[in-house]
Symmetry: C2
Subunit: 201 residues, 2 copies
């Protein structure tokens, strides 16, 4: 950071740079482990300046998670080539890999959202919403994912399952390979939709 901080940045650029640092820290630390003090030390600037940029720890955490959520959405964008199911499955594998790489922070976000932190819950819900809407958007009539209440319900359950599978696997893979994990995630979606439509099992 030191070299960068000698460059004169606008306040917005400076704030964005500090958020990037926060997101980097969040990959390997929980939200509880990223205080204003920790960021000040890592960035080599004063706590006072950080409070100036972010107001308080609560707002700082929300800003970092907002930035991380944008990264997740960008990194899991389906490729533009391939058939719809292939594009979606590439996106799902990217999601698995994102969570594996950013396990500590992602896990703490899930916990905070589930535990009733309203601001973080809203960001979390928004990300889940984007991921599910993508499935409908990518389905150009080739997959059989009609937009019905039952399919929306099962996809919400599926995304919760996927998150649990990845987080548990990160804690203790127990010999399950990442390829096996990918297959559970990618093959389960069309299977559950088929069951919901009465065509499965």
């Amino acid at each position: 950071m030191t070299a960068h901080t000698r460059v004169r940045l606008s306040p917005d650029e400076r704030r964005a740079q500090l958020l990037d640092l926060g997101v980097t820290l969040l990959a390997t630390r929980s939200l509880d482990e990223i205080s204003i003090d920790v960021l000040a030390e890592e960035a080599g600037i004063s706590r006072g300046l950080l409070y100036h940029y972010f107001g308080n720890k609560h707002a700082f955490h929300e800003a970092v998670v907002r930035r991380a959520a944008d990264d997740l959405i960008a990194q899991t964008a389906p490729p533009t080539e391939g058939d719809p199911l292939e594009r979606l499955q590439a996106s799902m594998e990217a999601y698995v890999d994102y969570v594996v790489t950013n396990y500590a922070g992602y896990r703490s976000l899930v916990k905070a959202a589930a535990g009733g932190h309203e601001g973080l819950r809203a960001i979390y819900d928004e990300v889940q919403g984007v991921l599910v809407e993508r499935i409908f958007a990518e389905d150009e009539g080739t997959l059989t994912v009609p937009d019905t209440p039952a399919v929306r319900l099962v996809l919400r359950g599926w995304s919760t399952m996927v998150e649990e599978l990845v987080l548990v696997w990160c804690e203790d893979a127990s010999g399950v390979t990442r390829e096996e994990l990918h297959r559970m995630v990618t093959d389960s979606m069309p299977a559950l939709v088929a069951i919901t439509l009465g065509a499965g099992a």
Copy 2:
């Protein structure tokens, strides 16, 4: 309660009776809404006596949830007749119906467990463990549910999905019938195990 409280009960019987009342209240209220004060009013006895029985609100909540967990496990016991998959599917439907009937309290337990309440988390994990062990126990070689790390992982994800499906459905069924919900829950388990074993999708 009044008629019952005239009977002279042993302290253990009295405590069990108060726990039953707590479990009844928990069906339609969250844990946050069941204070010692609320129980005292409902039971028609003094707060002091309740503190004598339960120590503090924290311990009271754990005792009520422990009792509710025992009820859940008893009410979802697989029937002794039928083939293994039928017995398991009857048990899963009983789980769905238990959560629907006890929605408010169950939802608050999930939230408390996910949010880091260690005592409630332990009870929650124990229930999830019992439900998953049942699947292996009921599988007498008829179902194809081998006890492998990958199958254990997918069943953990499946049970998280089932819980989410039921809780979301309770909040807003959106026209999805309970029969459709039952099918999502019961048919998804063998399908996910098949995918995990490389036989599915």
